[in-house]
């Protein structure tokens, strides 16, 4: 499959333009995270409005209202509040349904890598870990987050407050960027150091119950996913090296489905530019099916020809 003429196949020999192009998803993700914050920040501090007394995007990621019309709410927070014993108003319920619908339609933990303000921090820690070759010192099950998720829901019932929302580093960091600094910056630093020195992808990949919640949601009806071409894949393992959730790149299982189907995949797009064969590409699920069916067909044809 490898051809000498196409230098993009060898990662170390890519030209500058090719390298810059390979950063497209990380640039887009940072842009998406920044714009999300900016819309909130501008509305709070610079009074951005679409009309008189109609703020552009009021609130924060826990709950917000877009152009005074569309309510949005964090469905995980709403669930905790409900379990804490509060009967929610229609606006919060409608908002959480809208957000839930949006993310489950896209699929995966899109929130985590495209909107969450903690993501750049843990990404930086992960990048530095690779850069300075910091070896793992501590092992934790990836599934720990689902236990934390369960504990969140149980504690919300027992204590009568939204258990994660009250201690969430995600919420703290986000609110303090928008509404003024406090202790939350320290918590963010703690997460950074934990990810850097103690456990690789420790917070986002092992502990965060919000990420666990979105993993479960992302399983339901994924539309936008990373397509996997088993016909071109050489099992070189470049994708798993950059993936923050390498267990989702279980190639044996991917061969059956033809795409990265795990809810834990955050659609960050790191794997797609590093794949030397271009076996991993973002695609929509119906297109993935069509593509795979075609690939299957072409394989069987070529195999048939070989036999003849």
């Amino acid at each position: 499959m490898r051809t000498a003429q196409d230098s993009s196949h060898d990662l170390s020999q890519r030209s500058l333009a090719q390298r810059v192009w390979s950063w497209r998803y990380i640039v887009l993700r940072r842009l998406s995270q920044f714009v999300t914050l900016l819309l909130f920040f501008g509305t709070i501090h610079w009074g951005w409005e679409v009309a008189k007394d109609v703020p552009l995007l009021s609130g924060n990621l826990s709950g917000s209202k877009f152009i005074g019309l569309i309510p949005m709410a964090d469905p995980f927070a709403v669930l905790q509040i409900f379990l804490a014993g509060h009967v929610l108003q229609t606006e919060a319920i409608l908002g959480s349904v809208i957000v839930l619908g949006f993310y489950s339609l896209i699929g995966g933990r899109v929130f985590c890598s495209w909107a969450c303000p903690v993501n750049p921090v843990t990404d930086l820690a992960g990048w530095l870990r690779v850069r300075f070759d910091i070896r793992p010192t501590f092992i934790l099950l990836r599934n720990t987050r689902y236990f934390v998720l369960a504990l969140t829901l149980i504690l919300s019932v027992l204590t009568g407050v939204a258990a994660f929302e009250w201690v969430s580093p995600v919420g703290m960091a986000h609110r303090e960027i928008l509404f003024g600094l406090g202790f939350g910056a320290t918590v963010l630093l703690a997460i950074f150091l934990f990810d850097l020195f103690i456990l690789k992808h420790g917070w986002c990949g092992h502990l965060c119950p919000l990420g666990a919640f979105w993993s479960l949601v992302g399983k339901v009806n994924p539309t936008l996913r990373v397509r996997f071409d088993k016909t071109t894949c050489t099992h070189c393992g470049e994708c798993a090296k950059v993936c923050p959730e390498p267990q989702v790149l279980n190639l044996k299982l991917l061969e059956e489905k033809g795409f990265v189907f795990f809810g834990e995949c955050s659609n960050c797009g790191r794997c797609t530019p590093v794949c030397p064969e271009g076996s991993l590409v973002f695609d929509f699920k119906p297109l993935i099916r069509a593509h795979n069916a075609q690939a299957q067909g072409s394989v069987s044809v070529s195999e048939a020809q070989r036999r003849v």
Binding site: N60, S64, K65, H86, G180
Partner: protein, 258 residues
């Protein structure tokens, strides 16, 4: 017991131990956070303490909606529960918008839509430090009374006579049945540290108890039954008369013990 089963049980217990210790620590943290609540002044219409704790989603839409920048969200590490709205009246009080935009912005109902009239809000109660109040010192201050948006009801002036050659004192008196706790008086108070403060009701209000009968109030049953023109009240009046038959003279009776 097979090694597999033993291993599984040990792992199960390890998981359970981690979850329960972690859960206890976490729950302790939540309780500590929630206990800070009684010191917070909440936006108008806020539900009672525990309900508000449960209901607030910490989105800050009330903060954005407030036209006077009164409301703030508590940052982590402060004295109040993280991320919830509050205000400090000495800096910016609540100016009691009749449209109550903060309450309308609340998506969860933590600021209850049952509040129809802003004057019915009870964010706290004003209390006066009588030792440092200028009016109590005999000066004609009364700024809190003049600034009060519900003056004459929430704050009234009482005159106290003073010694000859000095004028009377004009004492501001707060009435809990009308005070909204907006804190405009706190902002206006001219002393270096405000001599009038807003405190949450639970921190300052006492409770008499139902067993007291205040004979001079109209609700009291004895006073209501009294009818000066009609027959004498049929209430049994206790007397000090000795209950048994009295023998001999009063002196004998009184000295009987000697």
């Amino acid at each position: 017991m097979s090694a597999n089963r033993r291993d599984f049980l040990v792992r199960l217990m390890q998981g359970a131990t981690l979850a329960s210790t972690g859960g206890l620590g976490w729950a302790y943290l939540l309780r500590q956070e929630a206990r800070a609540q009684p010191f917070a002044l909440r936006p108008p219409g806020a539900l009672p303490d525990d309900d508000f704790n449960a209901a607030c989603i910490k989105c800050g839409q009330c903060v954005v909606a407030c036209p006077f920048d009164t409301l703030k969200l508590e940052a982590a590490g402060g004295n109040l529960p993280i991320g919830m709205p509050f205000f400090e009246p000495r800096q910016i009080p609540c100016y009691l918008c009749p449209s109550i935009p903060c309450m309308k912005a609340c998506p969860t109902g933590a600021l209850s839509p049952k509040l129809k009239n802003i004057n019915d809000s009870r964010m706290g109660l004003a209390v006066i430090d009588t030792e440092n109040c200028l009016s109590w010192k005999g000066l004609r201050c009364e700024i809190c009374h003049r600034e009060c948006p519900i003056k004459g009801k929430a704050i009234t002036l009482e005159t106290h006579p003073r010694q000859i050659s000095k004028h009377a004192m004009f004492i501001p008196v707060v009435h809990s049945d009308a005070c909204t706790g907006c804190g405009i008086c706190v902002r206006a108070c001219p002393t270096t540290e405000p001599a009038i403060r807003i405190l949450p009701h639970a921190l300052i209000q006492g409770k008499i108890g139902d067993h007291y009968r205040l004979g001079w109030t109209r609700e009291d049953s004895i006073t209501q039954e009294f009818d000066a023109t009609g027959a004498a009240p049929t209430i049994a009046v206790p007397t000090n008369a000795p209950s048994g038959p009295v023998k001999g003279s009063a002196a004998d009776y009184l000295n009987g013990g000697l």
